[in-house]
């Protein structure tokens, strides 16, 4: 599946809705599209360990030099940081929004001047660890920060995983919403 991210060029922010079963696949599609457009992508992961995503991306031929990670779940789930992950930033817990905010700020500072995009995977998983009101505030903080530094951002969420109030709030923070399951386009054409 190819994603219409034409607005990314104007430093736009998107809320990308996906079905739960296709979340990982859509993550991959977004990464492929962004790296293909020459973006440096910062993946904030709370659903899968960064090590697993790295292997997945590498297996799919993604240029890994363009992808970096802020991993909120590995250290919390496994109690340690796996070896060979020195290029990742690990957060102690997905609910530690202070550390996550600091890590995002630091990463964005290092990427200033570069064509970068932040991929947040996913809001739905973060909801396991944080009440919806705090999520909304945090996403507002991130989107404001991204606008200030002129960086693009994509927030992945499970389409039926957000209540109407939270969805409305998130929609107001971003420039556009993409429903991955409503806009299927043949990816193969682009790949080929």
């Amino acid at each position: 599946m190819s994603i219409d991210l034409t607005g990314i060029g104007q430093n736009r922010l998107f809320l990308v809705l996906s079905s739960a079963e296709r979340l990982k696949q859509n993550n991959l599609s977004i990464i492929r599209t962004l790296t293909g457009q020459g973006y440096r992508v910062v993946v904030i992961t709370s659903n899968h360990p960064s090590a697993v995503l790295k292997k997945l991306y590498a297996a799919e031929g993604i240029e890994m030099g363009r992808v970096s990670f802020i991993d909120t779940i590995t250290k919390y789930a496994m109690g340690r940081v796996p070896e060979g992950q020195e290029d990742c930033r690990f957060i102690s817990s997905p609910s530690n929004l202070t550390d996550l905010g600091i890590a995002i700020t630091e990463v964005l500072n290092t990427l200033s001047g570069e064509k970068a995009c932040l991929l947040f995977d996913s809001i739905s998983t973060l909801l396991i660890y944080i009440p919806s009101t705090n999520i909304s505030k945090f996403i507002h903080f991130i989107t404001s920060k991204l606008r200030l530094v002129d960086t693009s951002g994509i927030f992945l969420a499970v389409e039926k995983g957000l209540d109407p109030l939270l969805l409305t709030q998130l929609t107001t923070y971003v420039d556009g919403t993409i429903d991955m399951d409503l806009s299927p386009q043949a990816e193969e054409g682009q790949k080929g």
Binding site: A51, T74, A77, S124, I128, V158, K160
Partner: protein, 224 residues
């Protein structure tokens, strides 16, 4: 001060003025009572003092006393006492102070006290009903919030967890599964499941603390 029959409030779902009667505001009430008071004093002077007639005109006084009792409860006794004093004074001047004068004065006070008491009781009951209604609405709102939060922080995450587990199984079924990656992914999913259970306990705790009617044994069970 509104005058609303609480039975009507209950039957009609508690609208602010279910009886449909237009009730005067505090300023209008003062003006109405002042005007009626002036009329009563004028009658007392005109009819009793000058025409020397002590019967009939005092019926008008009850309009003032009833309205004062409905709107200002026991404070209306001050108005009744003032009318009693005016009656006694004119009776003294005219010289027709009899047992009928005393009975009339007593009726002013008794009728005023009864109307005041009934009005006070009725408005207290109405306030109680409105409070109960507000409490029910608050609980209903909390219940809707609880259900929304349950869906947001449990039902949908469990769906996500299920799909992640299905993906892990697919990975295991592949020809050359990366067991290290599978182990890591499983650890993450277990952590998600732990957190979902913690969320459930936390939400139950919040509900249990709100509801006094839940027996102790069930409180313990729900928050275990």
């Amino acid at each position: 001060m509104e005058s609303v029959n609480p039975v009507t409030v209950e039957r009609e779902g508690g609208s602010s003025d279910p009886s449909g009667e237009a009730l005067p505001g505090a300023t209008h009430q003062i003006w109405i009572l002042g005007l009626l008071g002036a009329i009563c004093i004028a009658l007392e002077i005109g009819v009793h003092l000058f025409l020397r007639t002590a019967i009939g005109y005092t019926h008008i006084f009850y309009v003032l006393l009833v309205l004062a009792g409905v709107w200002y409860y026991q404070k209306a006794l001050v108005v009744a006492a003032a009318l009693v004093a005016a009656t006694f004074l004119t009776s003294g001047i005219v010289g027709d102070f009899t047992w009928a004068t005393l009975l009339r004065a007593a009726m002013f006070l008794v009728v005023t006290w009864i109307v005041a008491k009934i009005s006070e009781e009725r408005d207290r009951a109405k306030a109680e009903i409105l409070d109960q209604k507000a409490a029910i609405e608050e609980k209903h709102s909390a219940l809707v919030g609880y259900l929304a939060e349950v869906a947001l922080r449990m039902k949908n995450p469990i769906h996500l967890l299920r799909d992640n587990m299905a993906a892990i199984r697919l990975q295991l079924e592949s020809e050359d599964p990366d067991l290290e990656a599978v182990k890591m992914d499983l650890s993450v999913q277990i952590t998600h499941a732990d957190q979902i259970m913690a969320n459930f306990r936390e939400l139950n705790q919040a509900i249990v603390e709100e509801r006094d009617e839940i027996p102790l044994a069930y409180r313990d069970f729900l928050t275990r």
